[in-house]
């Protein structure tokens, strides 16, 4: 499965959020979308998902994903927003089941495939024991896992997640990233991220954005080097290694 993003651009009324951007992304990996605040990462993610007005095209295996067929797009791409929430204190299983909405006909009950997907998603995110709890009674880490289960339950070949580990403690950050990496075995996961060490650790490919454009794209070691971090993040980094993987710790600001 291949996702082709061709000349996608997002213009808000007062500013350009994403300049025309083209990317080809393959299934089977996590792609981290990184860059300083305001670089256009979230806007690009939303443009791919079709949540903001955009120009350009997005195609999955040569089939264009347009607003005209919202249902097919919803089955092809799942989206998890930054700080997701639930407006009503549903039970965890019912919330996860909302991920099956694109697969269910009007008035139909859950099919065996729906039930399988819900149970699978709860297993992958380790929330089975929470199934009958109300979502407003969960801790932050539990809630993040439940929301991820909701996105997993779509079982879409493409999963878009916006800052999945913001506001989580280190344990839950690692746990969520591990679950995303597992999901990416047979899917494409695009994750907007701020933690560069986690991005380098779990993503096979890093796309760095700055001022609405992609400025670097490739393997973590190649993209996240000293020069790039100084130039685009304006920080002096500490770069080390652990278990053969890069450690990237922003140390002080550059002015």
């Amino acid at each position: 499965m291949k996702l082709a993003i061709d000349a996608v651009a997002v213009n808000y009324t007062q500013r350009i959020a994403v300049r025309p951007t083209s990317l080809e992304l393959d299934s089977g990996r996590v792609v981290a979308l990184v860059g300083p605040n305001g670089a256009g990462k979230s806007s690009l993610l939303k443009a791919i998902a079709g949540l903001v007005p955009r120009t350009g095209t997005v195609a999955c295996d040569d089939a264009r994903l347009d607003a005209g067929d919202a249902r097919r797009r919803a089955r092809t791409m799942a989206y998890l927003p930054q700080s997701p929430f639930a407006h009503w204190p549903m039970k965890v299983r019912d919330l996860v089941a909302l991920g099956r909405l694109p697969h269910r006909a009007f008035g139909a009950g859950p099919s065996p495939a729906d039930r399988d997907a819900i149970e699978w998603a709860m297993r992958e995110t380790k929330v089975e024991t929470l199934a009958d709890r109300a979502v407003d009674e969960l801790s932050g880490g539990e809630h993040a896992r439940v929301q991820l289960a909701r996105a997993f339950a779509v079982r879409a070949p493409i999963l878009l997640v916006d800052e999945p580990v913001a506001q989580l403690d280190p344990y839950h950050q690692l746990e969520i990233m591990r679950a995303l990496a597992d999901y990416a075995h047979d899917a494409l996961v695009i994750a907007v991220m701020h933690d560069l060490t986690l991005a380098a650790r779990f993503a096979a490919r890093i796309v760095l954005m700055h001022d609405g454009a992609v400025v670097a794209d490739g393997a973590p070691e190649r993209v996240l080097d000293d020069k790039t971090l100084r130039r685009y993040y304006r920080v002096e980094p500490f770069l080390g290694r652990n278990d053969g993987q890069p450690l990237i710790v922003p140390w002080r600001t550059l002015d």
Binding site: A70, M77, H87, D94, L95
Partner: protein, 331 residues
């Protein structure tokens, strides 16, 4: 593993239908003229006339108006993701009332009976569109309530203005009494008047049901699940305007049914916005018919108005909800 709350709640539906089947015959057999349709009072002709021309329209309208208010309350709460949303509190009913009053005021109600509900529908539509423009998008609790207060106040001011210039005190009194909300002295013609507006209104809301479920996760996620928040929004707003407009046109302002009913049922349907709709319709009908029945059973004096009774019962309930919301647990 069986998914508990995710399945259809049969006992709840059965209980509500049973309550409805209990209260409808009771309402048909109860009235001021006699203890029952005949029981030795008058001849069979008079009994039949009382049953079909007085009580049946009243019961049918109670069912339609109550059901509409329950259904639309549930839909609005789902759309705005706010348990305090209600046609009355949001100014939808007073907007409809003003639309109807305008028709009254220009003396068109007698000439063209369909104009009255159409005026009410236009009024409720204007009120809802204003509300959504002012506060709908973010769905934040304070914004919606404040917008509702403003719309209510403005519609009430315009209605007062119309009353102020009313051609005769009798006309003003007629308008005033109608606005208090009542099901008394209606005919089957009223039923035929509202059905063509209510049925499409209900249908639009039912079409929006899955979109309301998706909105539980916020607008972006709803869109990513294939449900355009805009489509859902206009189906609910249009449907509510049609159905509540029609209800207000024949029964005046009957408040709080749309607030209380969905709130009491929400946890029983597992907080599914879509599964709340059917039970809210049934329970709204049961509540309205019961309140109307209680009015008729009250001894002597001028008959209490239905809208007065529902407001007396509903306002303290609303107050309790507001107090709870201030402690941070809105649901």
């Amino acid at each position: 593993m069986k998914s508990s709350a995710a399945s259809f709640n049969w006992p709840l539906h059965a209980a509500l239908v049973a309550a409805l089947l209990f209260v409808i015959p009771l309402a048909l057999l109860t009235g001021r003229s006699s203890a029952g349709p005949t029981f030795g009072f008058g001849g069979p002709d008079l009994a039949a006339a009382i049953l079909f021309e007085i009580r049946l329209p009243r019961v049918l309208l109670g069912l339609l108006v109550g059901g509409t208010l329950g259904l639309c309350g549930a839909a609005l709460q789902g759309l705005l993701r706010n348990p305090l949303a209600e046609p009355g509190l949001l100014g939808v009913s007073s907007g409809a009332a003003f639309g109807a009053v305008l028709v009254f005021y220009f003396g068109l109600a007698a000439a063209q009976s369909l104009l009255l509900p159409l005026g009410a529908v236009a009024g409720s539509l204007a009120a809802l569109a204003t509300l959504y423009a002012l506060a709908g998008r973010r769905g934040d609790f304070l914004g919606i309530i404040l917008a509702g207060i403003a719309i209510n106040a403005f519609a009430a001011a315009l209605t007062s203005l119309a009353l102020n210039f009313a051609p005769s005190p009798y006309a003003a009194l007629e308008i005033l009494f109608w606005m208090l909300g009542s099901l008394a002295d209606r005919s089957l013609a009223h039923v035929w008047l509202v059905l063509p507006l209510m049925i499409p209104g209900w249908a639009m809301i039912v079409l929006a049901a899955r979109g309301l479920d998706a909105l539980t996760l916020g607008e972006d996620t709803a869109q990513s699940l294939g449900f355009s928040p805009k489509t859902t929004q206009w189906l609910v707003i249009g449907g509510t305007a049609l159905a509540v407009g029609a209800a207000v046109a024949v029964a005046g302002v009957v408040g709080f049914v749309g607030l209380v009913v969905p709130h009491l049922l929400r946890s029983a349907v597992g907080y599914h916005a879509s599964r709340l709709l059917g039970p809210s319709f049934l329970a709204g009908a049961v509540l309205t018919l019961s309140a109307d029945l209680a009015i008729r059973l009250m001894p002597s004096g001028p008959e209490l108005k239905l809208g007065v009774v529902t407001a007396l019962l509903g306002a303290p309930f609303f107050l309790r909800l507001v107090l709870r919301s201030r402690r941070g647990s809105l649901a």
